[in-house]
Symmetry: C2
Subunit: 431 residues, 2 copies
């Protein structure tokens, strides 16, 4: 079956927002085995949307419209789609109740309540992360028309939880994927390692890049879930074998999930001291529900005085070698571990930019992990590569999590990848 | 003049690559005053591209095709565009020389040399960052047809250096926008306050939602930049008047930028103590370059012991009333202010979920600001609304920034918006 995706929104048309919805929906539909014929963007303009919808319903079997479901005047998708398919909009009581409970204690305006008006006879996709529900229905001509909200944080879970299962009735067989996630290796290098594995048709393997990591998605299609798994497993195993200890998990959400869960399992405590990452590492760790069992103290020590006062980084070290050096990173990791009575301490210091500091280049960042016996230091050397502040901070925090992951799982501490790691005896152990 | 953008590439159509070209081209064309009518993506399929081109050339004055200019078999854009416009492809000697010099010492294949075949009479856009040149020409029907390469690192500079100057001959007028940013009010409520203002055609006003805030974009078109500004200014003023002190800035990036810049201007120091936000507030503050002048210490005190040890939150208070209460939030703000010798202290404690804690509902979060004389406490009551952990944490951090913004600019501390604020004398002042 051929599918077409229409994104609605003047902000998308004018390029004020990059259209990530279309790519996401296309990828998921393609994985289910639908052929993507065409995708387009129209502004918040009912006539133009009607024209595009007419063509889409004539040419494709499945039409997905994203965006324009909200409560404001320029949200025209539902009316226009319903009209194009000759459907009335009717009030859905369940959605009314959901909206009333969402706005409990606050005013739920008339325009908000308009979001409960949905095409007659449609299957409603509840919005678990916002107000506007989505929906799907079959037109009198047998075409399938879906509407999904525009904000990705609403669209992504709605597609996963409600829209893809709804579309499954037109799929013959089962399609499923497994995601192998890796840190410390670029998408290009990973692709080279598995270039002969991405040629297959069923199962398929494809590489994807994320902010500072990459993953390989292995997908197969078969009659049953079991057959799909049997098809995927050998290919996934081979991908993991080729990528080695860059792989931090399969079908997991993030490095921080892997680290927090393993700290919980081992009953260990972590403490962090951050300078240039400014709390991003603590924030990522505490984003994981249950982190309070393994993480009690995180310090953001942005000045030298505070590094000395809270962490005991020697004032003469700071005066002599500065805040951005391996010795300071090590002292931060050791200091916070002692202060928090933790099993592991992490210290991060460096130059996130945009300006250089202490004569060190932007991107020069030291990440230290101390376990009381050893201190490991991973060095981002600031030579070449991306220089955006947020990217550098995120990659530094990821390097810290990767160091701890390798320590927890007793892997080699140096990834031989992007950034190199050295090992020293912990200063506390020497005392 | 109306413009249309066609992106060519199966990898874009299947969502394997997010289409950032279209957004970029659209934004640059809109800034020049062209109306973007429609954008779409087609796969590497000559028939489908021909069909889309035919419609585009019939409906729009300017058609920009991106991608599919390279040397490989599936690069069909030039042939298809030339055929659609009834032009021959002819060999361009300058491009031949450029290619020969690009491949000096390496083999320049026949297919590489095909890139020098360009529509007769076109204006060539040299590719300073790759091999395939772009081009533009006017069809016999007076339509303007441009072709640009797909890779952003080639397209972006080519657009800037060659294609926009080429398009300048058709420009009459300038289009520009101003963005008014607000916190504490939903997009729906804001839209109701300005619903009569969004009706105009030039200037226009439109509301947009972000993670936990909203903004109004005022846009106008006129002959000169000055006329655009003169058109926008009165409408922007009226929007600001209607939204009142929810507005935290115009054409600024974020709440944290406004707060850090004002702390710098006043020469004041901030310190933070976070429980449920886990460092997100510190991370957002230190994301702003120059934050080191106004922020030296941020503490993530995730356990009661650490709240007592680092912040001096009384153990009997924690034992009696728990970690999640207004008194603890206040003691955290006061404690970190004293410890850091700062002018302002912020304390955040609450239940970010997914589980309830101490019998308090998910979303119940207390945000305290202390300035040594007064302590203000803003309460997120956990009734209704969104419950995702990350959203709650982000909104709590935003509330902290909003409290400090109001204090710095001497505005009312209670926004009368989403979450209410109470005032107490600072405990430190009473001592």
């Amino acid at each position: 079956m051929e599918a077409e995706i229409i994104s609605v929104g003047t902000e998308l048309l004018l390029g004020q927002v990059v259209n990530s919805d279309t790519a996401y929906v296309a990828r998921r539909l393609a994985e289910m085995g639908f052929d993507i014929r065409f995708t387009c963007v129209v502004g918040d303009n009912s006539d133009r949307l009607a024209e595009v919808l007419k063509n889409a319903l004539a040419n494709s079997d499945i039409v997905v419209a994203t965006g324009g479901l909200g409560p404001t005047e320029d949200d025209l998708t539902k009316q226009t789609c319903a009209a194009a398919a000759g459907r009335k909009l009717v009030r859905d009581e369940d959605t009314c109740h959901r909206l009333a409970s969402y706005f409990r204690g606050r005013t739920c305006s008339h325009s908000q309540m308009n979001q409960a008006m949905l095409p007659e006879g449609c299957t409603i996709f509840p919005n678990d992360h916002g107000t506007a529900p989505g929906c799907g229905f079959t037109t009198d001509e047998g075409k399938v028309l879906l509407m999904l909200p525009g904000p990705p944080r609403e669209l992504v879970p709605m597609l996963q939880t409600y829209a893809l299962p709804y579309l499954a009735q037109w799929v013959d067989g089962v399609i499923a994927s497994t995601n192998i996630r890796a840190f410390g290796i670029g998408e290009g290098s990973a692709a080279e390692k598995i270039d002969d594995l991405v040629q297959g048709a069923n199962p398929t393997a494809a590489t994807y890049a994320l902010e500072d990591e990459m993953y390989v998605r292995v997908t197969a299609k078969a009659k049953t879930k079991e057959e799909v798994q049997a098809l995927c497993a050998p290919l996934a195993d081979e991908v993991r074998r080729r990528l080695g200890d860059y792989v931090y998990g399969t079908d997991v959400d993030s490095l921080e999930v892997v680290v927090v869960r393993e700290l919980q399992r081992q009953g260990k405590l972590l403490a962090t001291a951050e300078s240039c990452t400014g709390g991003m590492l603590a924030e990522r760790i505490t984003d994981i529900s249950g982190a309070s069992q393994v993480f009690h103290m995180g310090l953001v020590t942005y000045s030298n005085e505070v590094k000395n006062l809270l962490l005991g980084v020697p004032a003469d070290l700071l005066a002599e070698k500065g805040a951005v050096c391996p010795e300071t990173a090590a002292a931060m990791a050791q200091g916070v571990r002692r202060k928090a009575h933790a099993d592991f301490g992490i210290g991060i210091t460096g130059v996130a930019g945009p300006k250089t500091s202490e004569g060190k280049p932007v991107g020069y960042i030291l990440i230290a992990l101390d376990d009381g016996e050893h201190t490991w230091i991973r060095t981002m050397d600031g030579q070449g590569g991306r220089k955006e502040r947020n990217y550098l901070r995120h990659r530094a925090a990821s390097n810290a999590l990767d160091l701890l992951r390798r320590r927890l799982f007793q892997m080699p501490m140096d990834s031989r990848g992007w950034d190199r790691t050295s090992e020293f005896p912990s200063r506390t152990a020497q005392k």
